[in-house]
Symmetry: C2
Subunit: 241 residues, 2 copies
Amino acid sequence: MTGGAIRVSEIFGPTIQGEGTLIGEPTVFVRTGGCDYRCGWCDTLHAVDPTFRDTWRPMTAEAILARVRDLSGGRPLVVSLSGGNPAIQPLGELIALGRGEGYRFALETQGSIPRDWFAALDTLVLSPKPPSSGMAPDWQAFEACLAAAGAAPRTVMKIVVFDAADYRFAREAAARHPQLAVFLQPGNLVTGKASPDEAADLEALAARMRWLVETVIADGWFAARVLPQLHVLLWGNRRGV
Amino acid sequence: MTGGAIRVSEIFGPTIQGEGTLIGEPTVFVRTGGCDYRCGWCDTLHAVDPTFRDTWRPMTAEAILARVRDLSGGRPLVVSLSGGNPAIQPLGELIALGRGEGYRFALETQGSIPRDWFAALDTLVLSPKPPSSGMAPDWQAFEACLAAAGAAPRTVMKIVVFDAADYRFAREAAARHPQLAVFLQPGNLVTGKASPDEAADLEALAARMRWLVETVIADGWFAARVLPQLHVLLWGNRRGV
């Protein structure tokens, strides 16, 4: 049990998960504030950049769970813990309390900070950051995250791909960890800002998705799954959906 | 082992699976010709309507597998058996041969014709047809399909939803079979024809997807997963992708 205040950027939903292994699954999102990374194309700067710190509220596990319960009408569903990097926060108590009521927990992190409470998750999504992010993964920390999770959660890798260098990185990351299912996701350049030409941005996103599918197929990498950010295709880069 | 000629409408891929439980997964599609149903909004009439019969070729299991091997460069991947209703065809031998080489098989059918070789599948997708199709499911045949499949394949339901009546149907179908994971899919009105205004059609599809998500969430049906036809969003209603 890990207590203490959790720094929350936003809690919203239920809506469907738009990405990765749980795509399409009704989900409440708990987005925490703060990140140890600064990816060049970060699409959730409002949960990362300290200039937004005033919008982050310290909340107890009980208060977060009360809000989740309220949003979901008390019906258990998947709670996605994201950020920022949610592994910065003390989330063990929230997970334990929520699971006691039937909620399931997925956590998405770059894998830079291992936590013993990873083992209590239902799904752990590790997203090592490719070269286009400007960040370099710490593979030692990544492996410590895998070890902390152990066999309990379903652990997968999700890798954002903007270009050929990112694709090579994804191939290498997968080769390091052949036991993990891999989800490739075309990068989203819109970075959460209101866009002057959202239709063009969506077409660029769809075009990058088509390129990524063609690349995976031409390369014969049939163990990879390729999925777009469905919520962006359907709703654009609006927050809260 | 079920021998005999298989009536094939088209074999294409690899591309990603655009729908349901295997969404995003590199897949070769084997589409058989012929169907015992005539859904009003069928989007694969070229594999259903006997006026297209001249385009369907009788092929042996070996010949189909040779083509799949050729398309996939001999690297095993998922083979999706669809139609029309592929359960009309004798597919047992193809599945046995392909699995022997590491290919995995998914079959998509309305669940009107049970086959003992369902038990050899990796994934069985049963798609009972909602009221908007103009067809009524035969639940006795559907249950015979479940019994034929047994515990071996992952069996799921995928239900197309155009409107509120279809949604109620999906709820009832799920209540009949609470052990099956349910995937809801917004209906696609474009029906495979070249469209005078594809952009408008895609916007209508996205709008129906948003409505379906809102309906599921408002109803608190959190066990359902909601996924669009991703290939239509990304490529439009072109064949062979």
